[in-house]
């Protein structure tokens, strides 16, 4: 599980509180990532229809 913080339009850390997402491919510290908040997709990824997971890291952004 990784702690993620949103960034604003300028790429700065957003004032919104950080949230937790699961990570299946190994994102590094301070790497920019895409996070999906689709619970149905997340349950598919963990192959468990009873998992309460929602946020998952979809991919890393090429900087």
């Amino acid at each position: 599980m990784l702690l993620c913080q949103r960034e604003d339009e300028a790429g700065k850390a957003s004032a919104e509180p950080p949230f937790i997402a699961i990570d299946l491919f190994g994102a590094g510290m301070h790497q920019r990532v895409f996070v999906s908040t689709d619970g149905i997709g997340a349950r598919g990824i963990v192959h468990d229809e009873h998992s309460p997971v929602r946020n998952f890291i979809q991919g890393a952004i090429d900087d």
Partner: protein, 101 residues
Amino acid sequence: MRIGQVIGKITMSRQDPAFKAARWLMVSPVEAQDFNTCCNKPPRLSKEPSVVVYDRLGAGTNDIVGFVEGAEATAPFDEPTPIDAITVALFDQINYQPYKG
């Protein structure tokens, strides 16, 4: 999922039959500046409202928990269950290094 500290337990005299042997906890969301220390030292009480959370993990007072809110909170149940928050993790350690750039 958000991070919270258990600050109390709640017992019911009556409740919906769907809950069966439910345990309910009062959870105060942990603020970001307390993430790194909250597992060792109880964090200050959050300004954010506390949440009543369904618990199947056996979390106790002062434990640091991950709790899920919204539709996903009902995912672990076979039957439709009227809850909107559930504990899903007990945390041993949180490493929070906010990006300053």
